[in-house]
Amino acid sequence: MAGVTAVELSCAELSVREVNAALRALADGTAVRIAEPRGRHNLAVGLSNRLDIRIAGNAGYFIGGLCDGPDIAVDGFVGWSVGENLSSGLVRVRGNASECAGASARGGLIVIEGDASSRAGISLKGGTIAVAGDAGHMSGFMAQAGTILIGGNAAGSLGDSLYEAVIYVGGKIASLGADARVEELTGDDVRRVGELAGAAGFAHLSPEDVTKVASARSLYRFDALKDQRY
């Protein structure tokens, strides 16, 4: 099956609703190519079957959002909120991403091979985001759990009002947001970054050279939940 496209769906012929309905009806293991995405929003959302989806071009908002299973690759740019509320699976963007990449993702891996714009990983709830290039301002805003890896530079107010998510930055940090602080890199961190860079395919990153940003925990009190695992 590998490398073989079993199904092709074209946005030139089908509405977004029809594309998503067709995807939902496919058997696990099917490889699908979505042709001529032409910036359409909401492609490949809300899927729980284990598909291998390739979107052949630039796409719009919410690509791969609310998914729990498929692996999705976009051969181009995506608009706002790629992989929003992702539960599991992979969303890989080969170009740049607009704002709010991986917003509220609960699981899975979102890889941006280019740059991510503002608020990448906003309100992250356990998912993992890996950006090869730079990330825009307010990335990691109010992120509750999960990991954000930024290979390039982070713009201003990184990790503002961060909860228990952790951010690793390969390049420079323009400024930290409220209650975010730089912490010392542990052996576990280096291992985690190494694994993540490997999974994302980032060869340009040295895991031992990243900067770790986490919450200073002065803005929130979760005493009642202190034994809870995040």
Partner: protein, 299 residues
């Protein structure tokens, strides 16, 4: 919401199809702003020394012949040409940038002047993009640059005058997605300095502010830096001048913008879907402009 689009053609081979490229961009974004549509088209076709005045009548059956006769009587022998565009018209005449607008305002107060310049023509009205563009024949217009707007009004009334672009100086046009919160204060300050306003629209205040800054010697980028300092609210602005094209977003960057750049053109739009039909866009560098950064494309 509102949709903004802009296209600056670097490749002269594309100049004949400017309108053909821009109309679908606006049409796609009608969903972001269905109530009014406007476009500023830039092309040098006025002849040496002449400016183009984008005039808009209030009635579909306006007597442009009489208007032209009245103008000729007062133009002191300057040749004038009237190019009819549906209800509206573009007047081509060497009246001078200082003298022209005042002369036209005195000629018939019911005829609105939506902009003027050596290259710029402004067409705008209430109605969805497809309808407004078809009425003025925008698809058939050649040129080297265009900016356009599809409006979903939030701050002021839905009328032809309140539609974007707002053209506040020769060849200077602005389209705005967002809303300013402190525009009334800035408007009062500008009015106190003698600036006249056509509407109570918030975006017009930004257009007038930029024109004032530039009249005082600022370049377009400097004037936009002033906007970032002075204006509060949500904005993604696209501003065109005769030789330049600029984008700026507020510090929150809540109002979207996508840029696609190729060796042939720079195209910007609120959503990529508006750029999807441009030739060679699949090879373009596509990115979202950063907050509080001024992006300009000269030359």
């Amino acid at each position: 919401m509102c949709g903004v689009v802009g296209l600056r053609l670097k490749d002269p081979a594309l100049h004949p199809v400017l309108g053909e490229l821009v109309v679908p961009m606006l049409d796609v974004l009608a969903s972001r702003g269905p109530d009014s549509t406007g476009v500023a088209i830039y092309r040098h076709d006025a002849g040496p020394g002449a400016l183009k005045y984008s005039l808009s009548a209030r009635a579909a059956d306006y007597d442009w012949g009489r208007y032209l006769a009245a103008l000729e009587a007062r133009a002191g022998g300057v040749p004038v040409e009237l190019r009819r565009r549906s209800r509206d018209a573009v007047l081509v005449a060497g009246l001078g940038a200082e003298h022209g607008p005042a002369l036209l305002a005195g000629l018939d107060p019911t005829v609105r002047l939506f902009g003027y310049g050596a290259a710029m023509e402004v067409y705008k009205d209430v109605g969805p993009a497809g309808e407004v563009c078809a009425r003025y024949g925008v698809a058939g217009m050649a040129g080297y640059q265009a900016i356009g707007h599809t409006r979903m009004a939030t701050e002021s009334a839905v009328t032809t005058e309140h539609s974007h672009p707002f053209a506040s100086a020769a060849d200077l046009a602005l389209v705005h997605n967002g809303s300013f919160s402190n525009y009334a204060s800035i408007r009062r300050e500008l009015a106190a300095d003698g600036v006249a306003f056509d509407t109570d629209n918030d975006s017009e205040v930004a257009a007038r502010y930029i024109a004032c800054e530039m009249a005082a010697g600022a370049g377009l980028a400097d004037a936009l830096r002033g906007v970032l300092k002075v204006f509060d609210g949500f904005f993604t602005l696209l501003v065109a001048a005769e030789q330049e094209f600029a984008v700026v977003r507020d510090s929150f960057a809540c109002k979207p913008m996508v840029v696609a750049e190729t060796p042939e053109y720079v195209a910007v739009a609120s959503e990529y879907v508006a750029l999807a039909d441009l030739p060679g866009v699949e090879k373009a560098r596509v990115f979202e402009p950063m907050p509080e950064e001024i992006y300009t494309w000269p030359g």
